[in-house]
Amino acid sequence: MNLLDLFKRRGSAPVARERLQVLLAYERRNRSQPDLVSVLREEIMAVIARHVQIDQDYLQVSMDRGETMSTLEIDIQIPNKSARPLAMSA
């Protein structure tokens, strides 16, 4: 206990509590569903593979959760050499 505490009683616990409440509300909602990002990743991969040959590592799917809205980011790198022959035959 120091002098500052006399004026500022709030510690970091309220922040911890608030972060947990937001996080757990989200996690409980999604508990019964399979991991959305990995499902999306697999299906996107399957769609692309029908047209272009790409490596698993060239597909990045990520989700940035906001409080009211989330952003889904999909980053696909298609190497030019493998894209051409397949694209022509398709």
């Binding site: 206990m1 120091n2 002098l3 505490d5 006399l6 009683r9 709030r10 510690g11 970091s12 616990a13 309220p14 911890a16 509590r17 972060r19 947990l20 409440q21 996080l23 757990l24 996690e27 409980r28 508990r31």
Partner: protein, 271 residues
Amino acid sequence: MGKVVVVTSGKGGVGKTTSTAALGAAVARTGKKVALVDFDVGLRNLDLIMGAERRVVFDLVNVIQGTAKLSQALIRDKRVETLFLLPASQTRDKDALTEEGVGEVIEKLSSVFDYVFCDSPAGIERGAQLAMRFADEAVIVTNPEVSSVRDSDRIIGLLDARTVKAERGEQIAKHVLVTRYDAARAARGEMLSIDDVLEILSTPLLGIIPESQDVLKASNLGSPVTLSDPTNSAARAYIEAAKRLEGEELPVVVPFERKGFLDRLFGRRAA
């Protein structure tokens, strides 16, 4: 049939094994027959906390695989004669446990013992799920800290979905045991309070174990804290928690804040 209680947490290092030993010994001290089962295959430690590490001959995996009888693997405690330990295997991998085998062992134990405490490994994988699989009740060990509370919430979800009781549509009785609670830090708002933890987990409280040197000392000595020195604050908290587990209605007293110099000077109440 005895009661099967899983001691679990999700997160490691929060005090599952310490709590299993302390609660089990506290219940056994009252004359009840108690078996402690270590499910942490590959990383067993309950034998060490119980001070029985040099007496392990057979283990849970031996019993499941039929290379030893249950009665051969059970180790009787030297201090409390109604207390027994079934150690985990140190050498096998965790796939050595089968659901069927675990089910048979738990059934045999619960037909002989009043209480069977299953000390879960950390995590939410197979070992942890097998430890909770046949439980009637669960003690969720939680530290007042964000990652521990989050993992406890996850475990509560598993208890409600993956236990035999839950699959039958019954409710598994769940209790939160808050360990390593530092009253002074909670009063200063540096640590999640008991109310915070209970509100977030919305699960009833079994007890609050204060952060205490005596717990480490008991581990060093290889004795559950409720046996080595039943008068210290941590031991008393465990003994009371054990009574609540047995159905006794005892109010939980939140450990009070040790007052600092300025608090005393101005007579401030804890916020």
